[in-house]
């Protein structure tokens, strides 16, 4: 019997250019940088306050982490249990190996409902598989009902944050988008309330007319067959209760063993994501109930690379993620580049470890191969993660995997530099030789002992930073000189 090791994830998980190239482009967008900088700064300080209220925060994180480890250790068993319980309560369960299968399944269900319009609850999984685009090709309009997702959809833009997809837009930009895209909207100011009311009006009609809703899931509870969605605006609650048919797309790692496990995550998630003690709307549903809520419920379980990630004992912890985005908000790289630089729908530190693992990285030129390097390893993400994913360590692990995978090919400039450095570090003699050689750089320095230009790749340093001239005397030379002076 062979073990199924999964197929690579496809969909909106990979950009067109490497992170350094995309980041260079994004960094030039000064409006985006001010918007993201302002928003992340605000969320950061609020999150610290919300977390500070919990004396048992560290134990909660530990519990969340332990639960997720347990889930991954017995995933097949838990998924089967979830399937059994959903079916027993009147739901239908579908399994999708990848984005293509998931799109086909969902499109098939919508068509069977004979409708050309669906309302959507904000969902990362549907962004991952590119559901809206797929439905559009088949003549079905998907209407995003989350305010930020609606902004993105109307602007024909892409989300740049897991929780706040329009974080890169400010309110005056949103006003312009609404004026341009909402037929009935005129005379709008940039007052957030005015903008929210315009969106509310726009959406209300859709809620009442839609026959089908599509959602993601924050949690799927194995022992009861319950699905859960947490949200802030109430749009989710409308989608989950009004239309006749509900289709939920859930990544297979979102299963939790017991209903009582939600106790831990419902404390961790809101405080880490929106810095709230409790999110305004928590919707849970178990199967179907005549005369109450949707009459048909379909659960689509999505693999799309997750099983492949499971095979990496270190990297698999990326699947612990509960999509709170605390790591994005504290990341100094994300704060400056914004989310689009990461290419994938999963940006920021978690994206840097999740996206390349979900897709696999084919060659050195694969844009996702650059993601594990998109971090200064400052460690802020690890501190903020509510389920204690050691993101810096996984970044290094993935860098090592990349380096090892390319060992048999032609050595790159980096390979040669690292090998040369390893030789230098291999003995005090070679180290001293290198130090002596370095002294030669004193001639490159100006009279002010500043080095302002160096050859590639060090030119990337000197493009914005000087280097001091190496000292006349290294530490070990000083030690030898003064030591012998003492002994004399």
């Amino acid at each position: 019997m062979s073990t199924f090791l999964g197929t690579p994830g496809i969909g909106n998980l990979r950009g067109d250019s490497s992170f350094p190239t995309a980041a260079r482009r994004e960094l030039a967008n000064t409006q985006m940088r001010r918007n993201v900088g302002h928003a992340t700064r605000t969320i950061r300080s609020k999150r610290l306050a919300a977390v500070g209220e919990c004396p048992d925060w560290e134990q909660l994180r530990e519990a969340g982490s332990a639960l997720k480890r347990d889930v991954l250790a017995r995933l097949p068993e838990l998924l089967t249990e979830l399937e059994h319980n959903v079916v027993a309560r009147g739901g239908v369960v579908h399994w999708a190996r990848d984005a293509t299968e998931a799109n086909q399944i969902i499109t098939g269900i919508v068509r069977a409902c004979r409708t050309d319009e669906v309302v959507k609850v904000k969902s990362m999984a549907t962004q991952e598989i590119g559901l809206n685009e797929h439905l559009a090709v088949h003549g079905i309009a998907a209407i995003e009902t989350d305010l930020a997702e609606l902004i993105i959809q109307l602007a024909h833009d892409k989300p740049s944050h897991i929780l706040v997809p329009a974080i890169h837009r400010n309110r005056s930009e949103i006003r312009e988008i609404f004026l341009r895209e909402m037929p009935d909207a005129d005379d709008l100011t940039d007052d957030p309330r005015v903008l929210a009311m315009a969106a509310r009006e726009h959406l209300r009609r859709k809620f009442l007319s839609a026959e089908v809703a599509v959602s993601g899931a924050n949690f799927g509870v194995a022992d009861t067959g319950t699905l859960a969605v947490v949200e802030s605006e109430g749009n989710g609650r409308m989608c989950l209760t009004l239309p006749k048919t509900l289709i939920t797309l859930m990544g297979i790692e979102k299963v939790v063993p017991r209903f009582t496990d939600l106790e831990v995550f419902m404390q961790l998630l809101p405080r880490s994501s929106t810095a709230e003690r409790m999110n305004p709307y928590t919707s849970m549903w178990t199967g179907v109930h005549p005369g109450d809520g949707p009459e048909n419920f379909h659960l689509v379980m999505l693999d799309n690379g997750r099983t492949a990630v499971m095979t990496d004992e270190v990297g698999r912890a990326a699947l612990h993620c509960i999509r709170c985005s605390a790591c994005l908000n504290v990341c100094p790289v994300y704060e400056r580049t914004g989310g689009h630089a990461y290419g994938s729908v999963y940006p920021g530190p978690i994206g840097a470890i999740l996206s390349p693992q979900l897709t696999g990285t084919r060659t050195h030129d694969d844009p996702n191969a650059s993601l594990p390097y998109a971090s200064s390893l400052c460690g802020a993400c690890f501190d903020a993660c509510p389920v204690k994913i050691d993101i810096p360590n996984i970044l290094i692990h993935l860098r090592a995997a990349q380096v090892d995978a390319e060992r048999h090919g032609l050595p790159s400039g980096q390979d040669m530099a690292m090998k040369a450095a390893a030789w230098v570090m291999s003995s005090p003699r070679s180290f001293a030789v290198a130090e002596k050689a370095l002294t030669a750089a004193r001639f490159v320095a100006g009279t002010d002992q500043r080095i302002t230009a160096l050859p590639f790749p060090l030119s990337r340093w000197t493009a914005s930073r000087d280097m001091p001239a190496p000292p006349r005397e290294s530490f070990r030379q000083w030690w030898k000189r003064t030591q012998s002076a003492i002994q004399a």
Binding site: F19, P20, V403, P428
Partner: protein, 259 residues
């Protein structure tokens, strides 16, 4: 333990050894002034952090092995480095690297060595139990807490406590102090644009503070910050924490060695 003379091995760090010797020299002078014996195991080269963080773990394993052997041989009660990130690597990466390479024995040896390896402010405050090292440094200074000293070692307020006790020194507040300066080792080269954007914000906060000098416990981050300030021809300089703590009033008894 304060009062008892310790024999302390200096992990100079490759960067301080080759480019910023004053940080390592200051560490020696400071500890000797406090009455301790400092030895420099001459066979040392580097902790291997650059190789580890860039993903060259095979190469790093050999460097880790050398580090462990050299400092075991030194036979000291404590090992000190004027760097939070090198000590972070020793404490949180060496055993992991060894274990990954399948060398459980080396991993255990690395753990034993790591348990007596300290960043300078940790050694002073936690081991030597000293907060006032008798330094005199009449300058306006901001302190940048480097990421690895902050989040890998959790040195917390120790460097600030030491600085508050320095005679003549005015310690100023640094806005967004805990945000990374953008160095990140090879990150500064591989993602130079992003690194520079981070540095620009860090420098703006440093300049805004009104300080003459920015100090930190890592020569690497100071090389980055200092390199940026120098490029701007800014009036703010950089100085390693060890250099401040080693400075004394001219009237004070001179150190045993001088540069």
């Amino acid at each position: 333990m304060f009062g008892a003379q310790l024999r302390i091995a200096l992990l100079a760090t490759c960067l301080a050894d080759a480019i910023f010797p004053r940080a390592a020299i200051a560490t020696v002078q400071l500890l000797e002034r406090l009455g301790h014996e400092v030895v420099f195991p001459n066979d040392q080269t580097c902790c291997g952090q650059m190789h580890i963080n860039t993903g060259y773990l095979t190469e790093a394993t050999a460097i880790v092995r050398r580090h462990v052997e050299v400092f075991e041989r030194a036979g000291c009660e404590a090992v000190v480095a004027p760097s939070g990130s090198c000590v972070g690597s020793v404490r949180h990466q060496h055993a992991w690297v060894a274990r990954r390479a399948g060398d459980a024995l080396l991993a255990r040896r690395a753990e034993t060595l790591a348990a007596r390896t300290y960043e300078l402010s940790e050694l002073l405050v936690d081991v030597l139990k000293v907060r006032d090292v008798g330094a005199y440094y009449p300058h306006r200074v901001v302190y940048h807490p480097t990421c690895h000293s902050l989040r890998m070692l959790r040195v917390g307020d120790k460097p600030l406590e030491l600085l508050r006790n320095v005679g003549g020194l005015t310690l100023l507040e640094l806005v967004d102090a805990e945000t990374c300066c953008g160095f990140g080792g090879t990150f500064a080269i591989k993602n130079a644009d992003t690194s520079t954007a981070m540095l620009a914000d860090k420098m703006a906060c440093i300049i805004e503070s009104g300080a003459e000098l920015c100090t930190a416990g890592d020569s690497s981050c100071l090389m980055h910050i200092g390199g940026g300030l120098s490029r701007l021809r800014s009036a703010v300089g950089t100085v390693h924490l060890a250099e401040i703590l080693a400075s004394t009033e001219p009237a004070h008894p001179r150190m045993v060695r001088s540069q």
